[in-house]
């Protein structure tokens, strides 16, 4: 499959800036919403064939999702974890709960095999029958609050739920062949997994159902006859937390074609809406409703991170400006969305502009949802075009990396950081080049600098790319990127990923927004807590009516 372009999409030089990528919001094309739409549209049904958890919270359960052709089963293991062992670090060794998504329905032998491996996470082994591996830790505060309240016959406090948002947070959801699980190639031809990260999103969706059942189970164990189940309306507000660190940031750099396809889908959708000559009253009503709900969502967004808090404050103010503008503007005729978007680019900050870009898609599912089908990258891998003349390579390089050629790479601030993998943690880290002996271990995650180096090496070069690479194999990775970007306009971040002032958070936010995450709560510049599936219907509630707009919270009266 070729890389996806975006008909009429915005200029990559504008979209692919780090600060803008770091302002992205969930949309109709978010992977969680693609999943819930499909499951509702195909009338998936859900069963819980086993729930064998004791009064101390130890045991296992199986949750099956039945699609039109195949069944997938979440195998959940619940553990008794002492408080002092609870860590969100990806390198932890014990968790409150561990999970695998099984391809089909597991039998007793499968469960025994998984029980011996899944609780070990990275130290265990999976087979090609498993599609994902995950684990989660409790929010100690909310978990205890909910168990105690339910055990005493009362519902949990709405304010407590709003403040935390989740009963457990996952610290990793591994798919695509990790720890021996099935490679994506094994399942890529299944329609339900055509869009990216559907395995991972299904895993998290089923985990959420398990945790609701588990917290009710623990409340019954404590309160016996006095205990009550969670009010469904209260349960809905509870999502799954996710704690994400630097490990996710290199993903966008390591998968340029995939990044292109995500952004191109969103840009293509935005362009289709902006091109509409008029809007119906119904479409306007949908837009105004999700705008009001977005204001409510921004008001609920709590973070102690100073930078993000300032951006959230700006978003809240800007969305109200937008709402007032929309109320006063005539948005029925004369390319209303184009006019609105151009106005927003002059009047609102990046957070609100990108929020608007997402909101404009909401009334137009029939127009844009098909773009989800182009978001995966199942190409066999890019082959360098060795016959290309180096003059054309130079021109292509300048088109994508012109910004990098203008930077002064001799300035230590431009190369202050280096990405590396540490021996102790085996996970990507970002170090200070001048202060740590890490340069020999640097990962190839600085395309801007490497493009500038390639540009230098190409000075005076003649002939074909094949001849150039024969003499300069050290530039092979960068030649590949330049050629990928020539056909994939949104494949590359247009910013310096090793600069002293890099905010890795921008890269995390971009990726997580495509998952559909909301309430980004950076705990530093390097790791972030988010919430997934908050307000989503539970499996037994899922229907065509609630499968799509669930990320938007009710507007307070």
């Amino acid at each position: 499959m070729r890389a996806q372009g975006a008909q009429g999409g915005r200029d990559p030089a504008q979209v692919m800036r780090l600060s803008r990528l770091g302002s992205f919001h969930q949309s109709r094309l978010s992977f969680m919403r693609i999943l819930t739409r499909r499951m509702a549209g195909e009338a998936w049904w859900f069963t819980r064939p086993e729930f064998a958890v004791d009064a101390g919270g130890v045991g296992h359960a199986i949750y099956c999702a039945h699609g039109p052709e195949r069944t997938y089963s979440l195998v959940a293991f619940s553990h008794a974890l002492p408080d002092e062992a609870r860590s969100d670090r990806v390198i932890a060794q014990a968790w409150d709960a561990t999970f695998a998504l099984f391809d089909g329905v597991p039998d007793a032998a499968d469960i025994d095999r998984l029980r011996a491996n899944v609780p070990l996470q990275e130290a265990g082994r999976l087979s090609a029958r498993e599609l994902s591996l995950s684990r989660a830790n409790r929010s100690v505060r909310l978990w205890e609050h909910v168990v105690a309240r339910l055990a005493s016959g009362a519902q949990p406090d709405a304010g407590e739920i709003a403040r935390v948002g989740y009963l457990m947070r996952t610290t990793a959801v591994y798919g695509s062949g990790k720890m021996g699980a099935a490679d994506r190639e094994m399942i890529a031809d299944r329609p339900e997994f055509a869009a990216p990260f559907q395995v991972e999103m299904l895993t998290v969706y089923l985990i959420r159902a398990f945790l609701r059942d588990l917290v009710e189970h623990m409340a019954r164990a404590r309160g016996a006859d006095r205990a009550v189940p969670l009010d469904p309306a209260v349960a809905r507000r509870i999502g799954i937390g996710n704690s994400t660190g630097l490990g996710m940031a290199p993903f966008l750099l390591n998968h340029p074609q995939l990044l292109n396809n995500w952004i191109a889908a969103r840009e293509g959708a935005l362009a289709r809406v902006r091109a509409l000559p008029s809007a119906s009253a119904e479409e306007l009503a949908v837009f105004e409703r999700v705008l009001a709900q977005s204001i409510a969502m921004a008001d609920l967004w709590s973070t102690e991170h100073a930078g993000q808090a300032a951006r959230v404050a700006g978003l809240r103010a800007d969305l109200r400006v937008l709402q007032a503008h929309v109320a006063a503007a005539d948005l029925r005729e004369g390319h209303p969305w184009e006019r609105l978007f151009v106005w927003a680019e002059g009047a609102l900050g990046e957070e609100a502009q990108e929020c608007l870009a997402s909101l404009l898609l909401e009334p137009y599912g029939a127009l844009v949802d098909d773009l989800a089908q182009g978001m995966a990258d199942d190409s066999a891998g890019f082959c360098i075009d060795g016959a290309m003349e180096v003059q054309r390579l130079r021109a292509a390089l300048r088109r994508t990396y012109g910004w990098a050629l203008e930077l002064d790479w001799a300035d230590p601030a431009q190369t202050a950081r280096a990405w590396y993998v540490s021996e102790a943690k085996l996970e990507p880290r970002l170090g200070e080049r001048a202060r740590e002996p890490i340069e020999p271990y640097e990962q190839p995650l600085a395309p801007g600098r490497d493009a500038a180096r390639l540009w230098q090496a190409l000075q005076g070069a003649k002939g074909s790319v094949a001849e150039f690479l024969l003499a300069h194999p050290e530039h092979r990775h960068m030649v590949r990127r330049v050629q990928i970007c020539a056909d994939a306009p949104y494949a590359e971040i247009r910013g310096n990923t090793i600069a002293a002032d890099l905010m890795p958070m921008d890269m995390l936010r971009c990726k997580l927004s495509f998952f559909g995450a909301v309430h980004f709560d950076p705990r530093s510049d390097r790791w972030v807590r988010i919430c997934l599936f908050g307000n989503a219907p539970y499996p037994e509630e899922l229907s065509a009516e609630n499968a799509d707009f669930w990320p938007y919270p009710p507007v307070p009266a």
Partner: protein, 202 residues
């Protein structure tokens, strides 16, 4: 040992980098070993033999006759970069290429680029490949070399097979690659602990 193809590719890439290859060549090594293992061929073993051994040379030029004791990865990359020759009906003779098995994936990629089946042939071994597909005849495809090897395009080939989805890797060779891969990891220092942390605790 059964490994997913992603695990195999990631390990081969890191090992090749750990052995000192440039990143772009290490990426090629990862893809090549993945391709071989997906066809049940011992790519992990071949790479584990190649990396610590004699560093073969790159071709001196990109004509049709490559001399010297040649590195299969450098030759493979150049073969792929000059795939257009197969569309013109031209081939390559490599006089003495080490670990010839590692050349097959590149021939397959070259074939896919120009829509031809590319045959790789040396004494006692013959493989025809294009993209993901492969047909092997002759028992001796797994040798350290050097061998004299010919690559040329054909119109048709024997029944080719599609790749599988898992790799059965030889444990000792896998451990060898793990050892090389470990060279890409930065040793922990007090400074890196303080400065480099990812997700934190609470």
């Amino acid at each position: 040992m059964s490994r997913s193809l992603n695990e195999i590719e990631a390990m081969a890439l890191k090992a090749a980098r750990g052995a000192g290859l440039p990143w772009g060549m290490a990426q090629e090594a990862g893809r090549a070993v993945r391709w071989l293992q997906s066809h049940g061929l011992p790519g992990v073993e071949a790479l584990a033999q190649m990396l610590p051994g004699e560093a073969g040379a790159a071709p001196a030029d990109l004509g049709g006759h490559w001399q010297g004791r040649l590195c299969p990865l450098l030759c493979g990359a150049s073969l792929c970069d000059t795939a257009a020759r197969f569309a013109r009906g031209e081939g390559v003779v490599m006089e003495r290429v080490l670990h010839p098995l590692l050349l097959l994936p590149f021939a397959a990629m070259a074939g896919a680029q120009v829509g031809r089946i590319v045959v790789v042939e040396w004494e006692g071994a013959k493989a025809a490949c294009c993209g993901a597909r492969l047909a092997v005849t002759g028992p001796q495809v797994y040798e350290a070399g050097p061998v004299m090897l010919r690559c040329y395009a054909v119109q048709e080939a024997a029944d080719s097979r599609a790749p599988g989805f898992r790799g059965d890797v030889e444990p000792q060779a896998w451990r060898m690659l793990e050892g090389l891969a470990a060279r890409t990891y930065a040793p922990e220092s007090a400074e890196s602990r303080r400065l480099g942390a990812g997700a934190g605790d609470e």
